[in-house]
Amino acid sequence: MSLQMSEAEGAVKVEEWQQTFYAPDSGIQSGATTIRDEDSVSARAGESATDMEAQYSLTRAQRVRAAMFPETLVEGETALTAHSNPDQPTNVQRLAEPSQLLKTAIVHLINYQDDAELATRAVPELTKLLADEDQVVVNKAALIVNQLTRKEASRRVLMQSPQMVSAVVRAMQNTGDLETARCAASVLHSLSHQREGLLAIFKSGGIPALVRMLSSPMESVLFYAITTLHNLLLHQEGAKMAVRLADGLQRMVPLLKKTNPKFLAITTDCLQLLSYGNQESKLIILANGGPESLVFIMRNHNYEKLLWTTSRVLKVLSVCPSNKPAIVDAGGMQALGQHLTGSSQRLTQNCLWTLRNLSDAATKQEGLDGLLQILVSQLGSDDVNMLTCATGILSNLTCNNARNKALVTQSGGVEALIHAVLRAGEKEDVAEPAVCALRHLTSRHPDAELAQNAVRLHYGIPAITKLLGQPHYWPVVKATVGLIRNLALCPANQAPLRESGTIPRLVNLLLKAHQETQRHGSGAQQTYQDGVRMEEIVEGCTGALHILARDPINRGEIASMQTIPLFVQLLYSYVENIKRVSAGVLCELALDKQCAEMIDAEGASAPLMELLHSPNEGIATYAAAVLFRISEDKSSDYRKRVSVELTHSLFKHDPAAWEMAHAAMPLDPGYIPDGVSALVSGVCVCFCLNVGVLTSVTVGFIEFIHLKSPSVTSPPSVSRVLHHVKLLEIWMQFTLHMVTLIYPWMASRWTLSYMSNICQK
C-alpha cells in the first residue's frame, strides 16, 4: 500500500471529504479558488480593485496548495507570492511546514488504520495457513506474515494475537524448509523489539524453539535466533531461566567459533547475561570450552564492541575458582594484556579488573613481560580504578616469582610503586597491594638488594614509615612491617629507617598487638582485626626489629625501650614463627654484654634450652647462639649442659656427639678424663657406703671368735686388730671427704649418666 497519493486518489479523497462534516471545498485538490467575504471585491473600490483582489485570491489558493502539496506543482510552475520581501514571510509561508507535517500525520493515520484493519482481518486466516500440512502453503503464509511485520500497525495486531505467535513458533521449529524457518525467525525477531512482542514470544514457548534454531545451518536463521534471544534476555523477566533450562548455554558456547564479529558480540553478551551471578552457568561454559574460545576472540579480533562484551564474560568467569585456572592456562593473561593501551576506556578497565581477579592463579605463568611493563607504566595514572588494578596485579604476579620480580625492578617498578603509595593516601585498595608488591621486590631474588636501595634513593622510607601511623588499617600495617624488615637487610637503609622513627613505631605496634593477644587468652585462640591476626603483627614487628638490631645504634635504641622482657616472654609463644623472630632479636641484642646479662636475668635460659630441640634449624641456631653468649661468664658445668643439650638437638645425628654426651665429658681443659674421675667417684662412693659396714663386720667377727674361743682372741691381739681396723676406717673416711670436697657432684653425676646410659640402651 503506497503512502504516496496520486492526484487521482487525492481527487477521490477530496470528493469524499466534501461529503463529510468537514468544510466545503477549499480548493486544495480541486483548485477552486477560495472566496472570503473580506476578500470580496467591493463595488465601491472600483473595477481595478476588484481585479487586484481576484488576482490575490487566485494566488493565495495556489500558494496554499503549493505549500501543502508541493508534489502537485507542474514542472516549472511556482507559487506566486503577494510580495517578495524575504524578511517578512507571508502567513502561507509560515504555515507551510506545519501544514506539511499535519498532512503527513493524517496520511499516516489513514494508512495505519488501513493496515490495522487489514491485519486484523488476515490474522485468523494466516494462523490457520501456518498450520497447514502443505509446506508450500506454510511458506507463503510465513512470507506474508513476515511482510506484515514491516508495518507497525500490522505488527501490533500480530503480537496481540497469541494464536498467531504460537503458530509462527510452531512453524519455525517444525518446518524442514529453511526459507520458512528464516521467515518465521524473522517474524519473531521483529516482534522482539517491543515488550508486548517479547511477552508474546515468551508465553508461546518461543525460547526453546529459538534455542533449537541455534543449531541451524543457515546464517540468517542463526542471526535472527540469537538476536531475538538477546532481546528476551535483556528485557523479558524469566527469560534467563528459560534459556538455561532449554540448554541455551550448551548451544551458544560452540557458536563462539563463528567469525562474524557482530554475531559474536551478541553471543558473548548473551553468555554474560546468563552467567552473571550463576555458578552453574559458569561451569557449563567451562565444560563446553568457553574459556579457550573467549581467549581466542580476545587475541584475534579488533572490533571494539566484541572485545568489550567478551571481556565482560571473562570478568564474570574470573571469579569462578574452576574457570580461573582454565582462562589462565588458555593464555588469558597475555590476551587481556594486549588491550590495556587502546583508546577504549571501557575495554581497558574491564581487562584490568579481569586480570586482577585472575592474578592470584597466574603467579607461575610465563610470557608476562609485556604485561608487567604496561602495568608499571599504568602506576602513573591518576585513575583510582586503574591504580587499584595495576597494584593488585603486580602484587600477585611478583609473589614467589623471581623472574617477574627482577623484571619489575629493572623496569622502574620500585619508583612507580612508591609514587603510587604516595598518591594512594587512605585508599587501602591501592596502598596495601602497592606495599605488598614492594615487599616482594625487596626479597628472595637476585635483584632484591637493588630494590632495597631503590626504595631509599627514591625517598620511599619516610612515606613507608608513615603507613605505620594511626589510624591503623591492619592489612597495610602488616604489609609495611614486612617491607621494613626487608629494607633493613640493606645496611645503607638502617640509619634512614632509624631517623624516620621506625623503631618506636614498631615497638608500640608490637606492644599493642601483644596486649591484644594476651587479652583474649593464650593457646590456640587467635584475635583478628580487619581480617589480620594480631599474632601476625607480633611476628612481623619482632621480625623487623630483629633485622634492625643488626645495626649497633639501632640495637641500643631497641634495648633502651625495655623490650627484652617482652622478647623473652615471646619465646614461650605457641606460634613457631614468633619463637624464631624473638630468638633472632635476642641473639642480636646479646651481642652486647649488658644486654646479654639482662636477657639472662629475665630467665631466658630455660625457654632457650627448650628451643635447642626445635626442628626448625633457625630457631635452634638462634637459641644456641644466645646461650653461648650469655654463658661466657657462666660456670663450666652450665656450658657443658648447653653442649649436651646441643648434642641432643642440633647434633643429634652425630654418633660421636652422643658418645661424648653420655660420657658426661667436661668442657674445659682443666677437666680430668672421664674414665679416671668416674673410677675415683665410684670408689669413693663405695667406700663411703661400705667402710662403716666393714668395720662393723670386723668387730662382730672378732666378738664371735672371742665367744667361741676366748683364748684365741686375747685382749692384746683383739685390741691390735681393732686398732688397725679403726685406723683404716678413719684414714679412708678422711680421704673420702677430701675427694668429695675437690670434686663436687662427681658421685651424683656419674650415677646419673650411668643411669641414663642404661635407659638409652
Partner: protein, 81 residues
C-alpha cells in the same frame, strides 16, 4: 648405642665443633658475631673448613614468605553501555 665405635673426639673438641657450627650458621643467616666469636673462628680455621661442607645448603631464615592476595571474591556488574 655402641661405645666401641665412637671416634676418638674429646669433649673439648666436640664443644669447639658445636660452637663453630652454630657461628657459621649464624653468619649464613646474616647475623653479626662478636669480636671474640670472630677470633674463635679464626683460631679454629681447620674446624671451620670441615664444618662448611656440612652446613645446610638451603636458605634458613629469609623472613615471611610472599602471599597472594585473593581479589576475586565477588562479582561487580558494570553499567551496560
Amino acid at each position: 648405642m655402641n661405645r666401641e665405635e665412637a671416634p676418638g673426639k674429646s669433649p673439648e673438641e666436640m664443644y669447639i665443633q658445636q660452637k663453630v657450627r652454630v657461628l657459621l650458621m649464624l653468619k649464613k643467616m646474616g647475623s653479626n658475631l662478636t669480636p671474640n666469636e670472630e677470633a674463635f673462628l679464626r683460631n679454629y680455621a681447620g674446624v671451620v673448613h670441615s664444618q662448611m661442607s656440612q652446613l645446610p645448603q638451603h636458605p634458613i631464615d629469609q623472613g615471611a614468605e610472599d602471599v597472594v592476595m585473593a581479589f576475586s571474591r565477588s562479582e561487580t556488574e558494570d553499567r551496560r553501555q
